[in-house]
Subunit: 367 residues, 2 copies
């Protein structure tokens, strides 16, 4: 079996090899500079606001051509230069040893090497620098956040993590859902009978969907994003879309945050403009739209000041300049009220799966 | 197979029958009162602070003998009387139809019946009233919160939820962990080779423990409490302890909140003084103790004002009046610093599993 490795497993190995080579080359550059009596430095694509541009063709944010230098020569850059060098060293070890780590672990691990991080935001920021420098997401570094979402449906996966290589499970076996952690993220997607992926913002609704057999009725894989979808979840959604060819639809609360959850799944965030693995450009936002609030006579809650401020902010975002995205922001602003997914419970616990979901799925065909 | 139902399945059915009977009797009382020209009322064990007492024998908080009346006769009680009647009606339907619901759903579902809840805290409170009235936890009502934790290890369970009856899975099959949702909570615990349950506060450490094969090295089932353990998780810990006879140990951050996470698993919270299914009186708090901070030379963070206030609060709690619980609070107060579980990463990512855990497990035998 070892000679007959699957395409995904081979791709994963090739990817790991490429990362280790990139790290090695960074290290070689440092040695060469030192040999030649030069101060070593890193040149990182700049992540400043002025260098983040929306690429209409790729349908996501990307970084422009500016770069920032972290040089050992410059006293004001020496600190971040050293932090970045240490992180590259540490990531090399994580990847070689096949160990995973949290963002928080990185902050503490640095202390054993007397690398000084003021606080976790500072170490988090250096991790993003390394992503931008190497053009690899931190998941490839085996660095994961704490946040975890889940998935359920007829999807057979095959693990690649140590101790589980070649082992398969079907993600409809546990009706409370499968956590999307390092093992699932790195697993191979083998087989599915599903024809659709439904991403939903809330665990309670996810459970409702499983109970009401949405996975069978709509031949769907259901993903609980648990609020703003973590990157591991966005990466899984992308893989379901590209590797298995499944369309992705999104259900979120009927407010500006819900609309943006859908947008981030579709076209990423400015924060991750240096990465390419996280967007599903053809994903469709099913709802809850602002216009659904009146159409479905949903109970509402008044918006807060910060909800309204957030709408004004998004109205400046290039992705909200046209079509339904623009319209819905305007209607939200007019209503100054919002509605949660649970609001459908007013019409019975299964109203959302019996009526709303099929109507919106039908409508989405013409979007 | 249907004639050969397992003990747990039978117990679950008996429990459901008992709940439905209790609900029916409440309903009958209302009808009888109305027939006899009396205003119907509920008499609920009082949950006011003065009626919450610590029971040394049961080793948990319980309610005293005071009760509170919600009468249809009294204008100031009519509102909560009506809300409680409606909830009993709605829960009866949920249980009969085998549907689950979130706390949030209940708030919205009420609106279809023109039952007025000011906000979700008000409906949450009435749910606790119904728990106290009937002496059943809301999980029996099929009402679950959003929060979810997870479990991993060699434990075979058998589902009882519709569509999955009789189906078994082993909880070591998915190395990212199994969500503790309604299906797992109601499953039968069939078989395990484990000799210990380790409850741990954080998802990142849970992943580390799985990677380092703590489940094999220590023959353990590992539970991620994801912070303060949700009730479904405390209920699972109790079942692992009583049904399978497994000792439970707890690892949490080295601060006053971590100490209290352990205490709540062991002896419950004042909020749930009306319930009995949620405590593991023999559970042991392994750490991180305040005294571990110096012993293991852990990197620390200064306590906030609210950390310190919380220590003074807990010093008034009867459970913190003696032994190690008292000592550790005093040492925390002296140090005025705290240490997270991740702090062990300073000494290598596996320091916590290679050194700290075995040392504390050995020590715990004499606790």
């Amino acid at each position: 079996m070892k000679n007959n490795k699957s395409k995904t497993a081979k791709t994963a190995e090739a990817r790991k090899g490429k990362l280790l080579l990139t790290l090695k080359n960074q290290g070689l550059t440092i040695y060469n500079d030192l040999e030649n009596g030069k101060f070593p430095q890193f040149s990182i694509p700049s992540r400043s606001v002025s260098n983040i541009v929306y690429d209409k063709k790729l349908r996501q944010y990307i970084l422009g051509n500016s770069s920032a230098v972290r040089s050992a020569r410059n006293m004001s850059q020496l600190r971040s230069y050293t932090q970045l060098s240490w992180l590259a060293f540490f990531v090399n070890r994580l990847v070689k040893e096949g160990k995973s780590s949290t963002l928080r672990d990185i902050y503490y691990s640095s202390q054993a090497f007397e690398i000084d991080f003021e606080d976790q935001p500072e170490s988090d920021n250096i991790i993003v620098d390394l992503e931008a420098l190497l053009s690899f997401p931190r998941e490839d570094f085996h660095i994961f956040p704490e946040e975890r979402s889940s998935v359920f449906g007829d999807l057979t996966i095959e693990y690649t993590v140590p101790g589980y290589e070649g082992k398969r499970v079907n993600l409809s076996d546990h009706p409370d859902g499968y956590l999307i952690g390092p093992s699932l993220s790195s697993a191979e997607l083998i087989d599915t009978s599903a024809e659709l992926v439904i991403a939903i913002e809330k665990g309670g609704l996810f459970t409702r969907f499983v109970e009401e057999k949405v996975h069978k009725k709509f031949k769907a894989i259901i993903v609980d994003t648990a609020g703003q979808a973590p990157r591991s979840t966005r990466s899984l959604l992308k893989r379901l879309n590209t590797e298995l060819g499944l369309p992705v639809v999104i259900l979120a609360d009927g407010d500006v945050y819900g609309e943006h959850i859908a947008m981030v799944i579709k076209s990423g965030s400015a924060n991750a403009a240096h990465l390419r693995e996280l967007t599903v450009p053809d994903a469709k936002w099913l709802g809850v739209w602002a216009t659904d609030i009146e159409k479905y006579k949903l109970p509402t809650i008044p918006m807060t000041e910060s909800d309204i401020k957030r709408i004004y902010d998004l109205q400046k975002d290039p992705r909200y300049q046209e079509g339904n995205w623009k319209t819905q922001l305007e209607v939200f602003l007019k209503l100054k009220r919002k509605a949660e997914l649970e609001a459908f419970s007013k019409y019975g616990l299964t109203n959302i799966t019996d009526k709303y979901l099929p109507e919106k799925l039908e409508l989405s065909k013409s979007l």
